[in-house]
């Protein structure tokens, strides 16, 4: 039979077990590994920076056109972009601009840090303890859909017109987001990681620390991102409603001052600053954090 003729000699066996296999394996590894490099700067510029810049310029052009062609010719309704720019420049030259921004940003970030300290253990409790989840899980999700501006009146009555009232409103806005982000992160942990962890001896607190928390990180970071957005919004609501001279002028107060003075350029200035600062914090802190977490796990899909 042909098959018996092609049977390899017994002496061949040892050789295959040694260097031959190593070479074969190295070849397979080389063939199957994907080389990944970072995108060149130029490509990043064309794909990521250029499009939003064009969009912003387009909006400015339409705005200027509305004023220049007298489609809207009441400056108390719509000031020209240049007027708004003048107000911003003025504030900068008088040294007030950074003061406005810092007042709000310091409040926002400090409040966010408190929210982080409360939301993280709370989320972990809800995710891991059945009774706690049944008891406050639904309330926590429900709170997320409650506009945090609703907390301003009670906060003013309880705490008075001061910074604590601002922080209270931020906490009530951001804590549910952060806690819920962690809960959904924990819920999405693949059961295979938990099984693998258990066979390695990671049970109980060790399992939470070494397996559950790192596995839940993407959901947690998404929660942080949303938590920041909620902090910022809550703070602006609080600053607009509860403006009080002793509190210092933040961006919310600036907006309210503009409205009281019927100064539309100032109102626009405040709105633009609120928008820009909110986006800047997200771009500088939360987006890089999220991208780093996802990229290190190979979860960032490249287009």
């Amino acid at each position: 039979m042909a098959s018996t003729d092609t049977k390899r000699p017994a002496g061949d066996a040892g050789a295959r077990d040694g260097g031959d296999l190593a070479g074969l394996e190295a070849g397979l590894d080389a063939l199957e590994s994907v080389q990944q490099g970072r995108k060149p700067l130029r490509q990043t510029f064309v794909e990521k920076i250029l499009p939003p810049t064009v969009a912003v310029l387009l909006v400015l052009a339409v705005w200027q056109a509305l004023v220049s062609f007298r489609i809207v010719d009441d400056p108390t309704k719509l000031p020209a972009p240049s007027d708004v720019w003048d107000v911003v420049r003025q504030a900068w030259l008088q040294g007030d601009l950074l003061g406005y921004i810092w007042t709000s940003v310091s409040r926002g970030l400090l409040g966010f840090c408190f929210a982080l300290l409360i939301g993280t253990p709370l989320g972990l409790l809800v995710a891991r303890v059945k009774f706690v989840r049944a008891a406050i899980g639904p309330i926590l999700s429900g709170l997320q859909s409650l506009p945090s501006v609703a907390w301003v009146p009670p906060a003013v009555i309880w705490l008075g017109l001061n910074n604590s009232m601002m922080y209270a409103v931020i906490l009530l806005g951001a804590v549910p987001s952060i806690a819920n982000g962690l809960v959904s992160g924990v819920d999405q942990v693949s059961p295979i990681f938990l099984r693998a962890g258990r066979t390695l001896g990671a049970t109980g607190l060790k399992g939470t620390w070494h397996i559950v928390l790192p596995a839940a990180l993407p959901g947690y970071v998404a929660g942080l991102k949303q938590g920041w957005a909620f902090s910022w919004r809550s703070l602006m609501a609080a600053e607009i409603i509860a403006s009080f001279p002793d509190l210092g002028v933040g961006l919310g107060q600036l907006l309210e001052n503009g409205r009281n003075a019927s100064d539309m350029a100032m109102v626009f200035e405040a709105i633009l600053l609120i928008l820009v600062v909110g986006i800047a914090i997200d771009l500088l802190i939360f987006s890089p954090l999220e991208r780093w977490v996802l990229r290190s796990r190979g979860l960032l899909v490249r287009s």
Binding site: S3, T4, K7, R8, A10, A13, G14, R16, D17, L21, A22, L24, E25, A26, L28, D29, E32, S33, V34, Q36, I192, F193, R195, A196, R198, T199, L200, G201, A202, K206, H210, I211, P214, A215, L217, S296, R297, G298, L299
Partner: protein
């Protein structure tokens, strides 16, 4: 209760264990839609120290359930399982933690076993070298190919320094060429480390290629249907005539088992 998990080693640790795993009259049933469903029925099986046993069976034979019981991830409904320490377990999915590098995955296993920090790095490098992945220490899981991931998973399992390695269809998701290479690799590592291996598969050729003993399980409920001792000398190849001949015989038996389920 009938279930006990004991260490096979004597208390003073000097007496070598007579078995790496002992499965005695183990049954397992789960609550199903039609009442209690018997998945495993009175399984008795020993794995000797250094022995390579494959558990073979069609779907529904409960082979993965049995492996989970041996791994201690689940409790048998009746009978007893004892193992020599906590067994290491490898899955069909590599189950490597994507937030850690290949090397750190192995180090986590070492850390959880109580290996001091100073020794972990060297030990991890050593294990990577054993699976021929020198230089992959800092690689992230997603940067590795399927075959490389399973080798890191193997290194992580070996880091547990358990006497018994349980493998749940670890190569089923790999392409044929890679699987073939990993068979050679597993055989080499098994012979170097003198581990006991309990390997679950539904691939008859793979079972014969690797094992010293093939255990065929019947399906619904799982029972030991028949066992074969494989006398073909290692290293073998999946295309060896002797492997093929025994595979034909076992496949016939397996098909017979499967056919019984269509007859009512």
């Amino acid at each position: 209760m009938a279930t006990t998990t004991t260490l096979a080693k004597a208390a003073d640790g000097t007496e070598p264990a007579a078995y790496a795993a002992r499965i005695e009259h183990v049954s397992k049933s789960f609550a199903g839609p039609a009442g209690q469903q018997l998945v495993l029925d009175d399984i008795t099986l020993d794995v000797a120290p250094g022995e390579f046993v494959t558990l073979l069976g069609a779907s529904g034979c409960g082979k993965s359930t049995l492996l989970n019981l041996v791994a201690g991830l689940d409790e048998p409904s009746a009978g007893a399982i004892s193992t020599d320490g906590r067994p290491a377990l490898m899955f069909q999915e590599h189950a490597l933690f994507p937030w850690l590098s290949a090397g750190k995955n192995i180090e986590l296993a070492l850390k959880l076993r109580g290996v001091p920090k100073a020794e972990r790095r060297d030990k991890a490098e050593e294990l990577l070298e054993l699976v021929r992945l020198k230089g992959a220490y800092g690689k992230r899981v997603h940067e590795l190919s399927g075959g490389m991931r399973q080798r890191v998973a193997m290194a992580r399992a070996l880091a547990q320094e358990s006497q018994l390695l349980l493998m749940d269809e670890p190569f089923a998701a790999l392409d044929a060429i890679t699987r073939d290479v990993l068979h050679d690799e597993l055989t080499r590592i098994w012979r170097e480390t003198k581990l006991s291996v309990l390997f679950v598969t539904h691939n008859v050729r793979e079972a014969v290629r690797l094992a010293e003993r093939v255990v065929l399980l019947s399906s619904r409920p799982g029972r030991v249907a028949r066992q074969w001792t494989v006398g073909i000398p290692q290293p073998r190849r999946i295309e060896d005539t002797a492997v093929a001949e025994l595979s034909v015989e076992i496949t016939e038996e397996l098909r017979g088992e499967i056919r019984r389920h269509g007859q009512h």
